[in-house]
Assembly symmetry: C2
Homo-oligomer: 430 residues x 2
């Protein structure tokens, strides 16, 4: 992009879109100093041009309801896709790439579902398809994996990738309130959508993890094969018990490489208090990486919001402008990704937290620990605190490292015992 003004077509003028527009206005002089060029928001694709907006678009920006106005405009160099969802966004991105325009997107769902196809199309046309804003808001994790750590084998990546879920868990922890109440507060503050399922059930974090696995490993891990567990079932009782033991419960997205295969998943887990991720509270995100050269690295920042995510979109736009041709969309020479070699989650080894709801009678602990012993699950700590709930008591076990398949088999057997009064609560420990 050699000309002096870069024209941008923006699709979507919600939180992030209007954040981007504000940054472009506020930091205009600064951007010119960095780039030597003007970034001009030429057109914005919206559903209703007459809608009242808190942040009015700049006067020299046209609003349109027709995607064709962006795609077919020969002046537009870069299309920024911030409408989200799968179908319209897919259509916009493919048509933009086919019309010679590079694309910046924040759409993790679409990238997770159809990323490889889109990267192939971008490569075929020699164009950029950048997506820093799709994972962890303003945190430069895409750039870091694609470039700064490109020479490293990434042994593990552990992230808090969903600010909504993290805010809810932080509220539950600091104020000892149930999930529903923390969710209501998150919705009130605008951290959670009216339909919070994508965030609290872990799917949003799974989309982001899929994108990061590609960047770290050059492999395509199908979303459908990723074990995903959310936080809607998390009981404040376990948050309190975990805290007593020196842990916080966090929604974790993780991938580990073990002898060339990948072990990945999204799950709530107990994080030790002295772990760097334990300090990541409220709507913040963080990613802790372990590279075979760089060692441990952590990146921390706001995972969402108008200006932080707008900042990531702007970084991609500026990067597209300075690079001109060498786009390096995937961080790998071939746009074609290899199918991931998947290590079955059942083989994961970690410490575990169990809460059994047992009838308070002699011998039950011995039976439970007997079954665990048969499955090679060795017990590190046990706490039984009588609660005023009839004759059922919660008994919490912390184990030493044990394989998930052994844990599942033991729990299945234990949960069928007559003195077990509710399904056992189970968390992995980081």
């Amino acid at each position: 992009m050699q000309h002096d003004t870069i024209h941008i077509g923006l699709a979507g003028y919600g939180t992030v879109g209007s954040g981007l527009a504000r940054i472009l206005q506020n930091n205009r002089e600064w951007i010119r100093k960095r780039l030597g060029k003007e970034l001009h928001l030429k057109k914005i694709l919206v559903q209703d041009p007459n809608k009242a907006r808190r942040h009015v678009p700049p006067p020299d920006t046209a609003l349109t309801m027709d995607m064709e106005d962006l795609v077919a405009d020969p002046d537009i160099d870069i299309v920024v896709e911030l409408i989200g969802g799968l179908d319209t966004a897919y259509s916009l991105i493919t048509r933009s790439l086919s019309s010679g325009k590079s694309v910046v997107t924040a759409n993790k769902a679409l990238l997770a579902e159809r990323g490889p196809e889109l990267f192939n199309l971008a490569a075929k046309n020699g164009l950029g398809l950048f997506y820093e804003a799709s994972v962890a808001g303003g945190i430069p994790i895409v750039q870091t994996l694609k470039e700064s750590l490109a020479g490293n084998r990434i042994k593990s990546l552990t992230g808090i990738l969903n600010g909504t879920a993290n805010f809810i868990l932080s509220e539950m922890t600091s104020r000892c309130i149930p999930f529903s109440q923390a969710l209501a507060k998150a919705q009130e503050l605008g951290y959670a959508e009216a339909d919070p399922a994508l965030d609290v059930e872990g799917l949003d974090a799974a989309h982001k993890l899929t994108v990061l696995i590609r960047l770290a490993h050059g492999q395509d891990y199908p979303l459908s094969k990723l074990p995903v567990q959310g936080i809607s079932g998390t009981d404040p009782y376990d948050i309190i018990r975990a805290r007593d033991f020196g842990y916080r419960i966090k929604l974790i997205a993780q991938v580990k490489e073990k002898s060339g295969a990948l072990q990945a998943g999204v799950f709530p887990a107990l994080v030790p208090d002295d772990h760097m991720l334990a300090k990541v509270d409220g709507p913040f995100n963080a990613i802790l990486l372990e590279g075979n050269a760089v060692g441990p690295i952590m990146l921390y920042g706001q995972g969402a919001g108008d200006l932080p995510t707008g900042s990531a979109v702007l970084a991609d736009i500026m990067s597209l402008v300075t690079r001109r041709t060498d786009y390096n969309n995937t961080g790998f020479l071939d746009a074609e990704l290899y199918p991931a070699k998947i290590l079955q989650p059942e083989l994961t080894v970690s410490k575990h937290y169990f809460r059994f709801s047992v009838q308070d009678r002699p011998g039950v602990l011995s039976i439970i620990s007997g079954i665990m012993g048969e499955r090679n699950i060795s017990i590190a700590q046990v706490v039984q605190k009588q609660e005023p709930d009839g004759n059922t008591v919660p008994v919490v076990f912390l184990t030493h490292a044990a394989q998930l398949q052994d844990v599942r088999a033991a729990l299945q057997e234990i949960d069928q015992l007559s003195f077990i009064k509710a399904p056992t609560v189970h968390y992995s420990i980081l």
Copy 2:
């Protein structure tokens, strides 16, 4: 760099140089997958080719004692400068750039002293001069400031940039030992040089801060004008008192922008326990940034060492190879940096920690607080704990926000009082 093998000339085969060689060997296949090219370590400039080395250079790498062998070799595409120091390194870098070779360097001292001149030379020759490894080891802070946050105005940058000093302070804190003993342990573990002055007196952190100020603000802040204070005078007594108040003492490098002017310095400071930087222990580094779009961002990792720093050197090499021409060395359009508009450190406003050594007699607290009151220094907390040291007692004051020039004037007046038995100890609070 269009050819299939990129030839590298490495100057210096110490910790980082041999780390780089090991990464190039171990991750060779992986790098090829990312880059589509082979990185070949063609020659290494050493002082003594016959010296016994723990990590033997690869068999197809030639050792030389003559700089000309690197500079004049037409095959060599990139020169990596890891010899440190000012004169030879300067000569190597300028001669390499004048011979059409891009340069990767970890030399923060040289960049701090003569960076602008070197960046001008690189720009004149259309070559890359990359320096990710010069600040904070493997942490991608240079890349992040140059690219990911390029569209942000950086309102503040606060870093723990010297792993040696941080290790010493961590040891003093966790084991309540004096500076000399912690330094001896750091030297034993290889974290500190035989002459530790550069690290413990803050100059190394000042070099790095100078480099970061350029990247964040596009301004040249002369090293000679940067207030620099080290940690060799830090007394474990103050570490313990600070901990009682809920603070850790850390060596901080900081720059803040206030109405277009820069306020910068390196100094030991009290960091609140719940601050993200308080958790950065041992030889780790971290940089906390506040951008006007992205908000707060923190990057954390190992600040030194063979493989982490080697990883940063490799990132620069790979980046030079993929970019071919658009090097963006400084992150600003003009290689020419503006002289920094400097806000006098005396105008800095922060909270403060004082330890007065007073003769234990009635009325002294009232005189001290009277002088502070006259200078608009308002007191937040006072702790006096009698110690078995004759009739002198340490009295610790924590203040509300006050201007440094008022603090200095008050301390100068107070230290002349007859009942003050030793110079007052003073720290800023983050």
